[in-house]
């Protein structure tokens, strides 16, 4: 009987989209040869936001874990990189990976605390935890206390021989991390974990009743996203070459903007955070010098989106045309003669 059924993952739209995506990635990989230094810096920023948005989207959109404290892991990643490179003599790139690993490890006790809280209390709890981190690092005098520290010149030279070479390397790392974040969400969603996470997103009690260990699933998602967020945080500050508690644990830069991006683009998809990031940077280029009006514009757009299209730009598009660019769904195709369903 089973040969009558086939399960298809990709669609024509997804095959076209994946080919285009591959071309865009190739073009982006060559950017150090065709783009100016200013453009490269902005692309690095875009890539880090794509990565952060993928992670927040995974956490909130699938795990149902609406965190407003992901800056805890951005800052932790950044500080760990600086500490490991400066005091332990770890080469910067190795320190980057270790920083992500440490962020994931720290996420374990953090989860044990935060998971005791539900809904809004969870959100506030994550923010409080991030504040505790910020205050803690502000006390660490070896790391410059409240005013922070710069990466010593010798270590900066360790990254690459010249400033352009360093910037190109950081550019490729940022592109690689954005792709890794997208790839991580993509592979997770296509796996058994993806079934569990999407089910939890839609109904936690029903997931439990169907055998899904919801606590364990959310825990794994939380720790994995924390690790990737820490890795991205480390890269952000490797580019900036300077870190301070307020910059590292900024709720507006590393969480509020990221939530804006995910809400605008569309929660619960891979496409949404990418679209949201592009929209956000377009808005910023357009309106950044409007001062307070710029923030009001962003807030207004976010509120309007939540009211008119709660699933964001991609939610509207994908529902309207039943589209998915990243093939994560499972479509059943019945071949051969159709049996009477209720024989």
């Amino acid at each position: 009987m089973s040969e009558r059924y086939q399960v298809h993952r990709s669609t024509r739209a997804s095959r076209v989209a994946m080919s285009l995506f591959a071309l865009v990635v190739l073009a982006l990989a060559a950017a150090p040869w065709w783009a100016g230094r200013g453009d490269l810096r902005m692309l690095v920023e875009i890539f880090t936001y794509v990565g952060l948005a993928q992670m927040w989207g995974l956490l909130a959109g699938y795990g149902g874990l609406v965190s407003i404290g992901q800056q805890a892991f951005v800052g932790l990643g950044g500080y760990m990189l600086f500490a490991l490179a400066t005091f332990a003599g770890v080469p910067p790139l190795a320190a980057l990976l270790l920083a992500g690993l440490i962020a994931a490890l720290i996420a374990i006790p953090t989860a044990l605390v935060a998971f005791r809280l539900q809904g809004a209390y969870f959100a506030i709890g994550t923010w409080v935890i991030a504040e505790v981190f910020r205050l803690g690092f502000a006390q660490a005098s070896a790391l410059g206390g409240g005013s922070g520290m710069s990466l010593p010149a010798g270590i900066v030279r360790d990254i690459a021989a010249s400033a352009p070479a360093r910037e190109a390397l950081i550019y490729w790392l940022a592109l690689g991390l954005a792709l890794a974040a997208i790839g991580m969400v993509y592979l997770l969603l296509r796996s058994r974990w993806g079934l569990a996470m999407t089910a939890i997103r839609d109904s936690e009690p029903a997931s439990e009743s169907l055998g899904v260990e919801t606590w364990r699933t959310k825990f794994v998602v939380y720790v994995a996203t924390a690790g990737m967020t820490g890795l991205i945080g480390a890269l952000i500050f490797l580019q900036k070459l300077r870190i301070s508690p307020d910059a590292a644990f900024s709720v507006s830069d590393w969480t509020a903007l990221v939530i804006f991006i995910v809400v605008i683009g569309g929660i619960g998809s891979i496409e949404g955070p990418i679209i949201g990031t592009i929209v956000f940077f377009a808005l910023r280029e357009l309106a950044a010098d409007w001062g307070a009006w710029y923030m009001i514009l962003l807030g207004g757009i976010a509120v309007a989106t939540m009211l008119v299209a709660p699933r964001g730009i991609w939610g509207v598009i994908s529902e309207r045309w039943d589209l998915q660019l990243f093939p994560v769904r499972r479509r059943l195709v019945v071949t051969g003669a159709k049996a009477d369903a209720r024989a």
């Binding site: 089973s2 058994r192 009690p205 439990e208 009743s209 169907l210 899904v212 919801t214 059943l332």
Partner: protein
């Protein structure tokens, strides 16, 4: 007959409202048990206690001889208890087929290929195959109820709990549903079915219990129970749509 489920004097209260009152129950393997009782009598709560969504204040739940009173719902599902919700809880953003895959992958740890085939088979069995690739959020209420049963079946349960799935069906649809449940029963699955559509229930079940104010007030041969004076009195209002 071997016992598949036993409730031993379970009680549950929400505040001052006793919803399950010193309830005991035994179900043999392969048996089909019907449950009736007025709205608010505590029938769905009894399912929550059996499936693990609600922990009783007092008493024990045994499944195949194991005390599962403290076991989480997910574990009980993997042990073989499959349930439907009276108020459907579809995974609205997933397709109907993916809804079933969740059950197949986690409720029974089926390997991928087997799970894919089993879920498709259940869709045919429950008449949902034409909706396989439709997002569950777009289903009508009746289709959602059918999805509840299909999803529970996808976990390959040994004990199936059905909570009011026949309401609102046409006579023809109801006959189809009865035939489907009979076939599931015939394949060896134990069933507890809460249902207001009594004539449908009586076609399937071997035994009937009546619950009122959280307590079991009658039990036995379905027709005898239905004809008892006590049940007629309590059940008067509901008999009309049966």
């Amino acid at each position: 007959m071997q016992e598949i489920l036993k409730l031993d004097r379970v009680s549950k209260a929400y505040g001052s409202l006793t919803v399950t009152d010193d309830l005991s129950l035994s179900l043999g393997a392969g048996e089909a048990l019907g449950v009736i009782g007025p709205n608010g009598a505590g029938k769905s709560t009894m399912f929550n206690i059996i499936a693990g969504g609600v922990r009783p204040d007092k008493g024990q739940v045994y499944y195949r001889g194991t005390d599962v009173t403290g076991a989480k719902a997910a574990r009980r599902c993997r042990m073989g208890i499959g349930r439907s919700y009276q108020i459907p809880h579809p995974f609205a953003g997933m397709t109907v087929y993916e809804n079933l895959l969740v059950g197949a992958a986690f409720g029974d740890d089926m390997p991928r290929g087997e799970g894919f085939a089993h879920a498709a088979h259940v869709l045919e069995q429950t008449g949902l195959i034409d909706k396989a690739n439709v997002r569950a959020g777009t289903l009508t209420l009746l289709e959602r109820k059918r999805l509840e049963m299909a999803r529970a079946l996808a976990t390959r349960p040994k004990l199936l709990l059905l909570d009011e799935i026949a309401g609102g069906l046409t006579e023809h649809e109801c006959n189809d549903l009865v035939a489907t449940i009979k076939a599931i029963h015939a394949s060896g699955v134990s069933i507890i079915w809460i249902e207001h559509i009594v004539h449908a229930l009586l076609e399937v079940v071997d035994r009937l219990i009546v619950i009122n104010f959280g307590a079991k007030i009658a039990e036995g041969d379905p027709h005898e129970v239905m004809n008892s004076a006590e049940v007629r009195q309590i059940y008067m209002g509901l008999e009309a749509d049966g």
